[in-house]
Symmetry: C2
Subunit: 333 residues, 2 copies
Amino acid sequence: MSHYDVLCIGNAIVDIIARAEDDFLRENGIIRGAMNLIDMERAELLYERMGPAVETSGGSAGNTAAGVASLGGSAAFFGKVADDGLGRIYRHDIRAQGVAFDTPELTGTPPTARSMIFVTPDGERSMNTYLGACVELGPEDVEEDKAAGSKVTYFEGYLWDPPRAKTAIRDTAKIAHAHGNEVAMSLSDPFCVDRYRDEFLDLMRSGTVDIVFANEDEAKSLYQTADLETAREALAKDCKIAIVTRSEKGSMIINGGGAHTRIEADPVDKLVDTTGAGDLYAAGFLYGYTAGMDMGNCGRLGSLAAGIVIQQIGPRPQVSLRQAAIDAGLIRG
Amino acid sequence: MSHYDVLCIGNAIVDIIARAEDDFLRENGIIRGAMNLIDMERAELLYERMGPAVETSGGSAGNTAAGVASLGGSAAFFGKVADDGLGRIYRHDIRAQGVAFDTPELTGTPPTARSMIFVTPDGERSMNTYLGACVELGPEDVEEDKAAGSKVTYFEGYLWDPPRAKTAIRDTAKIAHAHGNEVAMSLSDPFCVDRYRDEFLDLMRSGTVDIVFANEDEAKSLYQTADLETAREALAKDCKIAIVTRSEKGSMIINGGGAHTRIEADPVDKLVDTTGAGDLYAAGFLYGYTAGMDMGNCGRLGSLAAGIVIQQIGPRPQVSLRQAAIDAGLIRG
């Protein structure tokens, strides 16, 4: 059996990132700060209108896998790319980061997924995702030995958008739990929560998911409340551990018992691009968690990784997170 | 007739950029700080060994065209891409920056050029370029109206590597001069100068080229001297205007008459990646030159643009150079 700290499952997406003004978002009907799902026709149109761009591998759970590996943890990934140029870039980048990635690639169409990300002057990113080959991820892509041998299996809520991935998730979770491992998920996006609220709540309440990552808006959306305290109390009932991230206000780790730990956000010199902030927080937390650290240090590793990724363009860390964590005294060199 | 400030001609290349240690360069026989020409087989091998990367349009003269446009100048570009994924990225990015780019794309093989760029901890970049479709740029790609209507035609010395581009250059220069315009070139790289020294000197001495951009190493390589002063005096004889860039030591603008102007380098908070420094210096200088500014301000615009591009990953400016130049008081808003 293979052994990994974290197995991540997610949409395998190449990001195409450009700066844009707020007017551009309005004129093009892009929901600000959200993940907008688009079809190929709209993808062509938006690319036509997009400024000069930079390409980098992305995708929420893939970013988390890369972050865990950058911290020195062992990570694996399930996700579907096609056998095309963007697919090759995706596969290269995640493997070059040291992540085990063996999902068979899709031959022919649809092509590898891409997300056109517009970064406004405030650093906020608005994503426009064409899912492409991701719609083909299914239960046949579950590698049993990785599911059985990973301390935590982590998946993104976005996987409820493609049609067959949810079956792969449920199968993987079953194998993980049968081997005494844990399952974590990210709520991904408040609109995503709105699309799949009942199913997400069922995943938590049925014990399919043990650990939930949400930002403030997602937590409020899940319980349809404007009050964070209400959401916090509900999360404490519905899962073993919940982590609520709050941008510059830091984060809050909630144990099922009701106790919670507050973590400060890391200081940021210059906010460049928020893409990947939540993904890298999860990476830091899960690295610490699978290494047996206490909640405070797990959260501090999350804040560190998120703080680094928002000071660069793109969601994959361009520096060694391990070195940064050593420099910050959070792990031993 | 179309009218442009600057027409740039160069190899149309997509950059694949990753960080690497100095040991990696040594182990893989990569000449540090240079442009290493590679074939497809070595490109595959190096990509296999390369870390997680970021993709962005590059290519020396293409970067200069993008820089001129970012400053608010009008720019055109001749260069050859193939009808593939990387070619589409290249075409998108340069057009999205506002550069007129109409060179017909190559159908079929070879594919669009790519350069694997390894950035070491000191910010120095070592390039490994597979020329691909660039070898097909030829005299049939000279658009007469653009050559006739551009105040300055600027090309990269690298164009002596592909077999047929030099004929396109000579044809373009002839048209430019027939219409009272000027021709500029970059010496590109000390090894490139070593490969084509006699031809480059002939371009200058025959009056095919009026303005020459070189860094210190290239200028010394051209005249096979270790003494910058000797190179400076020779440049003053061989061309109308020569610009020698000297990294943190600033730059020197040499008029044919022998007078020269010294320009300081712009202050840099954090050197990230030197890719594109010379290209963007040329962009700033040529923007100022074609706007009729004096030599001092041309050089200051060059330093500003170069100083900005070395504080980011990749050679295409990710901020508006025009806004930066306005903020610096170098151009009026």
